[in-house]
Symmetry: C2
């Protein structure tokens, strides 16, 4: 069953690639479809608003022939139950983050973010033009689903701490909330890594039950109120250089669409990817300045010696996680292969330009 | 007339913003529309292929109710005549680069790229969530048009040279092809800035009529064959930190669309923006390695002292260009205001992460 769906999914992916060159008959003749879209996120935040806009776009662009009704976290199923809902066909589509499904697949977290891995621009180059979507689909097809990158937080912050991090020894005994591969790396330095639902993070930090937590970045973290319970705000987010949101679609539902409906979802998801990342980038500076100036947060950079030790350990931990099964191994190898080439280009382009822009010359503004 | 169109355009922009929340009646009832889309670029390159895919998407997504026929450079009008064609209504839409229209508007080049200005991710943050599209529309509305960012080259290379650049004095007397504001900056260092159509660049370089030229980046430059006539390939592209392609639409044609057709164009253009940038990022490293290893190109970084002197001069030259009229001034001020905040965030996020990733630790791959 799983294997048949995988083969069917692969054929569909080929058809979808060709879809944008085909002019379909008007959708009216195909019959109306109503999709349930289940989200891991709340309605009010940046992620929830972008999902609503995507669903409204698909509904409008298809003239209502494919209408999407969004259920935000907790409205239909719990925040982390939407993957099951889409696999079973209760919902046709979901939005989450790939590492939320780590309990189902050892390989899937690599799709979300990788400590010391790709930044957002590099991730998107990999997804769209270097085989990344196909690599992800090998994982999602196992669950009868198709994957689309559907948003990105950009580079995250390193996290909130109630203790200074001056040497690698300062991690020893720290109680810290960090999900995903970043947490696996910190465990090896003696961190007591805690997993907590979002609703308990602030109170746990305030009570001293945890010494710190990572979340997203200034725009999201400020609304979450973490500055009320932690003093130090560390950067950079080595653990999540950029984090991908996953749009996942039930393959039976996907196969029942017309070519033009598939194209609307495919390009609509790419537009959401662009717009969500842009919104985080546009809002983060003002939020960070408010955290520093109004809320008296102490902004700190992880010392280079600490980052260098974490970087070396991250490579070992990731390689160990990747060695657990063939799909994890091939996924990890695809990413690190692209990473090598992407770094070389980024260093010659964006990296060298960033250094040039930081030279001491005076510039208007 | 121009002013009336501007006011009408502003009202339409408001309606378009609301469009994605409205479910339109099926497009069939609105009557079919056929648009002519005129491009500044050839059919075969990355830019031409992305425009074809965009037009096919709009045609398919609207079930042919809004069909787009693309005319690449020279097929209907010349490469730089499409702006006039869209202004006059001969074509409904065009794709080019904002600085191609510098002869019509002193302000418009700022929308394309700015020496030592924003990188691609920062440009998109500005366009979509910090007033950039509205700022650009104040310029495009003067010509009865609406603007969309519809692609980005990412950070360009500094250019091809037949002489080494070791000090700022090495620019004296150099015959160099560099359009836009970068060329204006180099002129002040004694460069004889030459403007040449693409078809004459390689032969002029080979004959010694010019000493060098900038083009785009490795993936585009390799196909163009510039390595055959120039030895040194300099980085970074301080003159075009990232270059925006402009989708421009005749306002009368835009006003005649349904809400859902406008949404298809708006999100379709955002998807093209994401996909084109991703393709350049994915292809540039392999092209650069081939240039170095197969074509024996000598990759060189501009010395920091040279970049620092160019940076200081760039600020003065840009301020002078911006002072020529009110619209140029307000456009420039909007960009440099956003630049200040964007740099602060980029330095704390992507910039600090890039430095952490470049530490000497060993990593797989």
């Amino acid at each position: 069953m799983k294997r048949r769906e995988f083969i069917k999914g692969a054929a569909v992916a080929g058809a979808a690639a060709a879809a944008s060159t085909v002019i379909s008959a008007p959708a009216l003749s195909q019959g109306r479809k109503e999709w349930i879209v289940a989200s891991s996120f709340g309605k009010a935040g940046i992620l929830g608003r972008h999902l609503d806009a995507f669903a409204d776009f698909v509904t409008a662009a298809t003239g209502g022939e494919l209408s999407m009704k969004v259920f935000h976290a907790g409205e239909l199923v719990g925040a982390f139950e939407n993957f099951d809902a889409v696999e079973s066909g209760t919902a046709q589509m979901g939005l989450g983050a790939p590492y939320y499904w780590a309990g189902k697949s050892n390989a899937i977290s690599f799709i979300a973010a990788m400590p010391f891995g790709l930044n957002a621009q590099e991730q998107n180059a990999w997804f769209y033009y270097a085989g990344g979507i196909e690599t992800a689909d090998k994982i999602y097809n196992q669950f009868g689903m198709k994957f689309f990158p559907m948003g990105n937080t950009g580079n995250q912050m390193g996290g909130w701490y109630n203790r200074e991090i001056n040497t690698i020894e300062d991690f020893q005994g720290l109680k810290f909330r960090m999900p995903g591969h970043g947490g696996e790396v910190l465990k090896t330095f003696g961190v007591n890594v805690v997993l907590l639902p979002g609703g308990e993070v602030l109170s746990s930090l305030a009570s001293g039950a945890i010494d710190g937590t990572e979340w997203i970045g200034p725009a999201a973290d400020m609304g979450f109120g973490l500055y009320k319970a932690a003093k130090y705000y560390y950067f950079p987010g080595w653990h999540e250089p950029a984090t991908v949101l996953d749009g996942f679609i039930n393959l039976d539902a996907w196969n029942a669409l017309t070519d033009s409906q598939r194209a609307v979802i495919e390009r609509g998801a790419a537009a959401t990817n662009m717009l969500m990342l842009s919104e985080f980038q546009a809002r983060n500076d003002a939020a960070l300045q408010a955290l520093i100036n109004e809320h008296k947060v102490d902004l700190r950079k992880y010392p280079d010696a600490v980052l260098n030790q974490i970087g070396a350990r991250a490579g070992e931990v990731l390689q160990d996680i990747a060695s657990r099964d063939a799909l994890s191994k091939s996924t990890f190898e695809a990413i690190v292969k692209f990473r090598r080439t992407a770094l070389r280009w980024t260093n010659t382009s964006e990296g060298a330009f960033a250094k040039a822009r930081a030279l001491p010359f005076k510039f208007p503004g």
